[in-house]
């Protein structure tokens, strides 16, 4: 964002300038300090969190990253990638079809469906854990990545439906009308015209679904009991558990885990604010 064009800017007073820069500098330092500590820990030998407050490492080593390669980290990363990708595919399919129905058709129950997608977001995930646990247990889907994918893809649906509906709303009606006159059926119109045109919207919701699944901790930690199946969040939490905390490995793992989603976040950021404050409530 560049500074807005502004005609006759009055020179601000020195006090105001110092105050503004000081506030921003302090806030930025407070934001960066914990991040730098983690980076330092990732490159510094030893299992303890920090022996000094300085964010500069005294000794640099790659042993923690090497340790990740040696450990089962790759296996857990694979589990996380599989869950997140599957969630994205399932979630996008469900959200695209539903958003298309809500955007292009008028039918009884449409308003109810739209409100339901909003209200559902208000159920905090932590309250659905117990009933989902009981249900997944009945379906023999506890301790399975499939169960996790099913649960995750529905938690992302409401946001995706609302975002995609906005995209579909903006497609020119004449185009779809022309296709119909030419004899294209509803499925064909949807797959060959609507979906290709809405690619940017689909990309945004895909990234969002991926991020949601990649970052989810508590359900994964509750539903997965087999250590071999842990996704990265559960693995990271267990690496700094009560009895054997290895902060060096945690820091290295945390960096590897969060850098990709942080990149995604910066891509998504401007859509997130709009989508979330449009009335959608994420829990």
């Amino acid at each position: 964002m560049s500074a807005p064009a502004h005609g006759r800017t009055r020179r601000p007073s020195a006090v105001a300038m110092i105050a503004v820069y000081a506030a921003l500098a302090v806030a930025t330092a407070a934001v960066l300090y914990p991040v730098l500590l983690v980076v330092k820990k990732a490159f510094e030998p030893g299992r303890q969190f920090a022996l000094s407050a300085s964010p500069v490492p005294e000794d640099v080593t790659l042993e923690h990253f090497d340790g990740l390669l040696g450990a089962s980290f790759a296996q857990h990363a694979l589990a996380s990638i599989a869950v997140a990708l599957a969630t994205t595919v399932v979630g996008i399919f469900l959200a695209c079809t539903a958003a298309y129905a809500l955007s292009r058709f008028r039918f009884p129950g449409r308003r109810t469906a739209l409100t339901t997608f909003l209200v559902v977001q208000m159920f905090p995930a932590s309250l659905l854990i117990l009933p989902l646990y009981v249900l997944l247990d009945q379906l023999h889907l506890l301790n399975s990545l499939t169960g996790l994918v099913l649960v995750y893809s529905t938690t992302a649906i409401p946001f995706c439906v609302w975002t995609l509906k906005g995209y579909f709303d903006s497609l020119p009606r004449e185009l779809l009308e022309a296709a119909r006159v030419d004899g294209a059926g509803p499925a064909r119109i949807f797959f060959t015209i609507v979906l290709p045109l809405a690619r940017p919207g689909i990309a945004v919701t895909a990234l969002f679904s991926f991020m949601t699944a990649w970052n989810e901790f508590i359900m994964a930690s509750t539903f997965l009991t087999d250590e071999g199946k842990y996704t990265l969040p559960v693995l990271l939490q267990s690496s700094v558990g009560q009895f054997s905390a290895d902060w060096g490995r945690f820091a290295a793992g945390a960096i590897v885990t969060s850098v990709p989603v942080m990149a995604l976040f910066y891509v998504l950021q401007k859509y997130l604010v709009g989508g979330l404050t449009a009335g959608a409530v994420k829990g």
Binding site: A16, L32, L51, P131, V161, S258, F265
Partner: protein, 531 residues
């Protein structure tokens, strides 16, 4: 849809309605049948297990087949392995006083059943129960002078099948009644009577309640058919079938994975769950929670204490988020500011980091011995603090973490709102000689309010439900006193002996609080917009 449906052949429409309703009712009946059969089976097996155990106690051979029997002697710990309790068993028919070791490399696999049952007998006394392995066997233990006499029944044969002949007969009879009704112009009566016939198996398998419900459903479908409601509904579905088929996958997924669990959660709240046993307890769980269950108000397990902590937690965080977020947004909006883009990108870093990682990082920073926060304190000459051993410091650690990760959202919302304030307003104010303070309080803040109100509602709901920070940073320490409602509900379910009923009841209460808050919040927001 108010258009009149095209006239349909009465027979087809009657058969369609009766058919769909019958399929739904038969599915319910099938579940009732399985429950009924399993119930009968369980009580028979339990009876047989008791009879067999009593026979073993008398020294007789049980009448029915068993998979393990014997009198198990009290546990003795061996000298070499003090934690390994060993037991001996008197096999039935063995000479008096003749015992063999229970378990061991050459022992029959069924010895484990005897060992587990003896251990349970030591805890609970005589008992009878179904084995939890899903094999359909029952186990019973009765007291004898030498130790519990234990019997496990043999695996049952194939369970009794569904009485298909009766169901086929009912369906055929029903089809005949429906056709007769439709042909004679009384389709509604035909449909109703045919469906009502299903009340007979419902009575057999589910009792009077299910039979009554079946009868009511039959009458309902019959009346709806006679009034033409089902025809109109079918016509509406047919007219919108493209839209509905696009909506269906998501609708079904949401129903199965959100609405059903939600309903299940509501129902579980009325049950007690103990050692795998569900008991209906009505409003007991709610009464226990709301009355504090005999605990003092300052007891960390009292609902009102936790509610107080939750409200304080939410209020403090939202306040810090709004104040810090707005201040930084105002600073970023200064027209002469350099490096604006850089500051903005850096300041939203906390939002980009997954919040469980943030929570774990801060947990590390607040550690007593090696934490960075204590090192900083010592650096400026203060003493280190044991952060998680008193309520105030543990709570402060949680709030610090959540403030850090939450303010960027408010900052971004405030930035967006500031951008939409027309510049002319400021210029006009400047011409009129308004001071900077006056411009802030008279122009900026009033314009920020409507944009911040929904963000505050949203932020308060997020914070109210912020499970990860509490669970991972303080973990409720000390003694559960920094838990909020959602983490407490979680602990009832998964950390306090699977008290699912309490957890679900607390979940319902949390949901009601959130609902009230949202309704109240939207009211206030609307009023604000109207003003």
């Amino acid at each position: 849809m108010t258009t009149t449906p095209p006239p349909r052949p009465p027979l087809r429409s009657a058969l369609r309605d009766a058919g769909i309703a019958a399929v739904v009712l038969l599915l319910i009946l099938f579940t009732a049948f399985v429950r009924h059969r399993n119930g009968e089976h369980a009580s028979r097996e339990r009876r047989r297990a008791i009879e067999a155990a009593q026979a073993v106690a008398r020294g007789d051979t049980p009448v029915h087949a068993t998979s393990a029997i014997g009198v198990v002697r009290p546990a003795l710990s061996s000298k070499d392995h003090p934690y390994l309790a060993r037991r001996k068993v008197i096999d039935p028919g063995a000479r008096a006083g003749r015992e063999r070791a229970l378990g061991g490399p050459d022992a029959p696999a069924a010895d484990k059943l005897l060992y587990d049952a003896a251990a349970r007998y030591d805890r609970e006394g005589p008992f009878v129960a179904m084995l939890a392995d899903g094999s359909g066997r029952a186990v019973a233990a009765v007291t004898t002078a030498r130790g519990p006499a234990i019997a496990v029944t043999a695996p049952p044969g194939t369970p009794e099948g569904l009485p298909w002949l009766m169901l086929v007969g009912l369906v055929g009879l029903g089809a005949a009644i429906v056709s007769a009704g439709a042909v004679s112009g009384r389709g509604g009566i035909g449909v109703g009577v045919a469906l009502a016939a299903l009340a007979v198996p419902a009575w057999m398998w589910g009792g009077a309640m299910l039979a009554g419900a079946t009868g009511l459903a039959a009458a309902g479908v019959g009346v709806a058919h006679a009034r033409g409601a089902t025809d109109r509904f079918a016509a509406a579905i047919a007219a919108n079938r493209v839209a509905l088929s696009f909506l269906a996958p998501a609708a079904i997924a949401m129903a199965v994975l959100v609405l059903v669990p939600f309903a299940v959660g509501l129902v579980i709240g009325f049950y007690d769950h103990h050692h795998g046993q569900w008991t209906f307890v009505g409003l007991d769980n709610f009464a226990k929670i709301l009355s504090g269950d005999g605990r003092a108000f300052d007891d960390p397990l009292n609902f009102w204490f936790i509610l107080g902590v939750t409200v304080l937690w939410t209020g403090a965080n939202v306040l810090f988020h709004v104040v810090i977020g707005t201040t930084l947004a105002l600073a970023l909006r200064q027209p002469w500011l350099r490096l604006r883009g850089l500051f903005r990108v850096l300041l939203i870093v906390p939002w980009a980091i997954p919040n469980y990682i943030t929570a774990l990082i801060w947990k590390g920073m607040f550690q007593g011995e090696y934490g960075a926060v204590n090192s900083l304190l010592e650096g400026v000459g203060l003493d280190g603090v044991s952060w998680f051993s008193s309520w105030g410091t543990a709570f402060a650690a949680n709030v610090a973490t959540n403030t850090w990760l939450g303010f960027p959202f408010m900052m971004v919302v405030a930035l967006g709102a500031l951008e939409s304030i027309p510049r002319d307003l400021y210029e006009a104010a400047e011409v009129d000689g308004a001071s900077a303070w006056q411009r802030l309080t008279q122009i900026t803040l009033p314009h920020l309010r409507p944009a911040l109100a929904p963000a505050v509602i949203l932020g308060s709901i997020w914070t109210f439900n912020m499970f990860n920070v509490i669970y991972l940073v303080s973990g409720g320490k000390p003694g559960g006193s920094t838990d909020i409602l959602v983490t407490d509900a979680y602990r009832w379910a998964f950390e306090r002996g699977e008290r699912y009923g309490m957890a679900a009841a607390l979940g319902t209460i949390i949901f009601l609080i959130l609902l009230l808050w949202t309704v109240f919040g939207t009211r206030v927001t609307r009023k604000e917009e109207a003003a």
